[in-house]
């Protein structure tokens, strides 16, 4: 075997070994990589004794209530993961992208009544990008943004083809 091939095996072996080690480490610490806890996992995963954590999910349709706490804008909504949902209250200004049907990540604590009191609410957006007129077309064909993401991009032109 030439020294060149020995070096190739050595480098290849090291990269392979390192990759396997990294995969094992990440498997072991899987949950620490998660940014947020989904509502159905709160009981199992969320930290106890009133420590803050991030709650994530979709804002449930029809759950958003705008209240007024003195002079502060206050909102209450339910965050759902499709299995369970959690009531969130928040005093402050919501990001522009916030709406029913949108993904959100809220930082806060569980109150004594089991609801989630947020001190920060971030909005997620999905991986779909489309011009406003295309969104209007989709709304005409029955898509409701407050219920969830638009249909797959490959289908956007389908109504025109069939119609």
């Amino acid at each position: 075997m030439k020294r060149k091939h020995q070096r190739m095996l050595l480098v290849g072996g090291c990269v392979l070994g390192l990759s396997v080690a990294t995969i094992l480490v990440f498997q072991a610490f899987r949950s620490t990589g998660e940014l947020f806890v989904i509502p159905s996992k709160i009981a199992a995963v969320a930290p106890k004794n009133g420590r803050a954590f991030r709650l994530g999910g979709m804002v449930e349709q029809g759950s958003l209530q705008r209240l007024q706490d003195g002079t502060h804008p206050t909102v209450s909504f339910r965050v759902s993961d499709g299995i369970a949902s959690e009531t969130v209250t928040y005093v402050g200004i919501l990001p522009d992208l916030f709406r029913e049907g949108q993904g959100v990540v809220a930082l806060g604590k569980l109150a004594s009544d089991g609801s989630f009191v947020a001190q920060e609410v971030l909005a997620k957006h999905d991986e779909n990008y489309m011009p406003p007129d295309m969104a209007d077309e989709l709304k005409k064909t029955g898509w409701n943004p407050n219920k969830g993401s638009p249909p797959a991009a490959a289908l956007w032109n389908a109504p025109k083809v069939s119609g």
Partner: protein
Amino acid sequence: MGAVNTTSLPAGNTRNLHRFANPGQFLRLSGKILPPIAAISIILASVGLIWGLFFAPSDWQQHDAVRIMYVHVPAAWLASFGYFSLALASASSLIWRHPLADLAAVEIAPVGAAFTAICLVTGSLWGKPMWGAWWVWDARMTSVLVLFFLYLGHIALVRAFDDPQRGYRAGAILALVGVVNLPIIKFSVEWWNTLHQPASITLTGAPTMAPSMLWPLALAALGGSFGFSALVLARLRAAVMERRIRALTLAQIRTGA
């Protein structure tokens, strides 16, 4: 290990692998292809960016903020691609002792670091108005920040030794160790829940983006790739010529004295 040099290789191998490693040959060839690569880069990137920033439609929910994508996404792709090419150069340096590979690695790292910095800064500028936060420690953002530090580490490490060969060796090992970060960046948005959305453009599925936005993005990304190559080529040419000047000056001093 250090005893192996190019002259001990069989003639056939020398012709195959080391043809492009000859610095003189490299200077001649790169001198020819660098101007067209730079011109293509400027044309494609200008068309893509002007199209994306001024003429492409806005997004139905993000409005004009979506236009940051035309800078952010090409920078992000090239940050990862640049690191992959750094790892390839490092592997050719360690395995084949390719004479130009060490210099290539040294010159790729600052360019890759610059693209990663552009990706991080534009991502932050995009995140604040849309998500509501400049920065969140989610898996995608953290892994790209690690990529940035890997680049900076490589830049520092290759210059940290009195003997440049030892610096090249240490840098190559660091670059190859850091390769495990690339799949982590790519799949971070699938393996963990993150604030960052999943990829819109994948090898396996149809893009989840209107064609009127996809075209300018593709042009900007292509222009960015040519720009990345042009910057690395120009830096590499300068590095080869610097070496040559140093060797010539040393020879002159020796004969003159």
